[in-house]
């Protein structure tokens, strides 16, 4: 029973909580028990605060019973009492905020991120601090300073990254859903590798206030869930304009769940684009086959499948690593040991303290990226690197917008390969970077994208299908994803833990 609860969807749990079949405290206890049972093996959490989570759950039960007494009779809010895990780059007042870095090992946030506040406002329980690649830099969660998260489907393999903890926690039943952040694929790729749904909203849809910045112009917070419907529910809760984030867009937020359902009802036949550039060398044959099968499934559903071209795809990784590292070199300058965070004990003066603090506080991947980013911005190189990359970014974005003249959404693999073995790519950063080849373009173009389960390898590793939508048209994107999800049952499988 208890484990069953932990693997349920938000939608099912919400009905159960409404009926009084379970209390929020009972649900939270079940999730805590599950976490204690499996996290020693999975390593999804950096930390969790059991007492705080139970107190939030008790408060949720209290709210529910008050509204029952008031006799509203209306169903409870969909997230009321649901434990949502948060990637450890999203600020929760009074809780640690580490970015899986030595630099912030002992940092406690005095404030809530906007998404955190929105989750609280929706009645959800903010549950635990989920592991990631240090400062969200990586594709395997091996770059965490504290632990390597394991893929629940094969503990010898990585869960993907950087939001590996979020993906693994949802896959392993340690959270009902979770939030992650996606700069170049950091939600979609681990979702694919862990057989869960992961979505990156349109840039500007969700406030970044309280999200530790990696690359400001690319970062976006998004949901991990067990169904497209759950992802829609979570997205509705966290979206919207925020006066604390100048890049958050002042557009109304639709009810994604309802919009999605209405589109499914309408029986609309989608026109789907298949970019030929996403099916070339480097794509694992099993992944390619699964994605092809998914495309066939769409065809059977009556969708129109068209080949499209995104000619600048091959430049996406290059442009991304210039833009992302340049922005990170500046964003991470604040970690200097002056106001908070790690401070070297053997610094002799105010200049020395920077060098030693940052040498001790940052791991190798973070240092590499800061150095690369510093280099590309340094005097005499700006035009050749950063400015050129921003222009290439324009071309990449144009490719997508051009394609959307003919299609409603674009369908691709999420990741070229299934989960790889721990350590396999650790020594070769470039190989690791190329892992994001299918996801990066979406960030550069600021588009919404979702990864949904679409099969398994013969070895039992999950495969993800990426659907890419049009700016601020998440409802359509979710509907396209849900159409496939509805006729398959990949998402129902559970990892052998």
């Amino acid at each position: 029973m208890s484990e069953e609860l932990c693997h349920s969807t938000i939608a099912d749990l919400s009905r159960l909580l409404d009926r009084g079949g379970v209390s929020a405290v009972e649900l939270m206890r079940a999730v805590i028990a599950r976490t204690k049972e499996v996290d020693g093996r999975v390593g999804a959490f950096n930390s969790f605060d059991e007492a705080d989570a139970l107190a939030q759950a008790a408060a949720s039960d209290e709210r529910r019973s008050r509204s029952r007494t008031a006799g509203s009779g209306a169903p409870g809010r969909p997230l009321e009492g649901i434990p949502i895990g948060l990637k450890d780059v999203i600020a929760v007042a009074g809780q640690p905020l580490t970015a899986s870095s030595r630099m912030l090992e002992h940092f406690v946030s005095p404030y809530d991120a906007t998404v955190t506040r929105k989750l609280r406002d929706a009645g959800a329980i903010c549950w635990g601090r989920l592991n990631l690649d240090e400062f969200a830099m990586g594709s395997s969660t091996e770059n965490s300073a504290f632990r390597t998260t394991s893929n629940p489907w094969d503990l010898e393999r990585v869960p993907g990254g950087s939001s590996g903890g979020s993906a693994a926690a949802v896959a392993a039943g340690e959270a009902i859903a979770a939030l992650g952040s996606d700069t170049g694929g950091s939600i979609r790729q681990p979702a694919a590798l862990c057989n869960v749904v992961g979505m990156k909203p349109t840039y500007g849809r969700v406030s970044r206030y309280g999200l530790i910045a990696f690359a400001s112009s690319l970062d976006q917070i998004g949901p991990f869930a067990r169904s497209v419907e759950d992802a829609a529910c979570l997205l509705s809760a966290i979206s919207g304009h925020d006066r604390r984030d100048s890049t958050s867009v002042d557009l109304g937020v639709p009810d994604y769940g309802a919009g999605m359902a209405a589109l499914a009802q309408s029986g609309r036949k989608w026109r789907l684009g298949i970019p030929k550039e996403y099916f070339g060398a480097g794509l694992d044959p099993e992944v390619g086959a699964a994605v092809q099968a998914a495309i066939d499934e769409y065809r059977r559903l009556g969708c129109e499948i068209r080949e499209v071209s995104l000619p600048h795809t091959k430049y996406a990784v290059g442009a991304y690593y210039i833009i992302a590292t340049a922005e990170c070199s500046s964003n991470l300058a604040r970690y200097d040991g002056v106001r908070y965070g790690h401070r070297s004990r053997d610094a002799t003066d105010a200049i020395d303290i920077y060098f030693k603090t940052r040498a001790e506080g940052f791991g190798p991947e973070v240092k590499r990226r800061i150095i690369l980013g510093t280099y590309v911005l340094s005097s005499g190189y700006y035009d050749a690197f950063y400015l050129r990359a921003q222009k290439v970014r324009t071309l990449i974005r144009r490719d997508f917008l051009e394609a959307y003249k003919d299609v409603d959404a674009i369908v691709t693999p999420t990741s070229p390969t299934p989960a790889f073995r721990k350590g396999e790519k650790a020594a070769n950063p470039l190989a690791m970077y190329l892992n994001d080849i299918y996801t990066i373009g979406v960030n550069l173009a600021g588009l919404p994208g979702i990864s949904i389960p679409c099969g398994f390898t013969r070895g039992g590793l999950p495969i993800g299908l990426q659907v890419i939508g049009q700016p601020f048209r998440e409802t359509e994107l979710l509907a396209v994803a849900a159409a496939y999800e509805k006729v398959t049952d990949w998402r129902m499988r559970r990892p052998p833990l």
């Binding site: 349109t202 430049y315 060098f355 940052r358 190798p364 150095i371 510093t374 340094s378 690197f385 070769n428």
Partner: protein
């Protein structure tokens, strides 16, 4: 575009205020050299007449009215400070 060998690692690390070990210098030089060689393919792209994208969905004049709101208490402001004294953050002496 600059060639990978132009990566002036000592200078750049100094700008970034990160002390590198000799071992890190060797490794980073190779790894970043690979990355720079890879990104050099951006040179193939004809970007003449192309505007750079700074924001995917640019809007202008995103501002707030000038209304003062309460901030952090001194205690909260200094809560995470590695070293503090007299309600201020302490750093090793700044030599000017």
């Amino acid at each position: 575009m600059a060639k990978p060998e132009d990566l002036r690692l000592d200078h750049v690390a100094s700008l970034a205020r990160i002390a590198l070990t000799p071992d890190e210098k060797v490794r980073f030089a190779t790894q970043l050299g690979d990355v720079l060689a890879y990104v050099a393919q951006l040179n193939e792209v004809d970007v003449s007449g192309v505007e750079p994208t700074a924001h995917a969905f640019p809007v202008v004049n995103v501002w707030a009215q000038d209304i003062a709101e309460p901030g952090l208490s001194v205690e909260d402001a200094l809560r995470n400070a590695p070293e503090k004294r007299d309600n201020m953050f302490v750093v090793p002496k700044v030599v000017e």
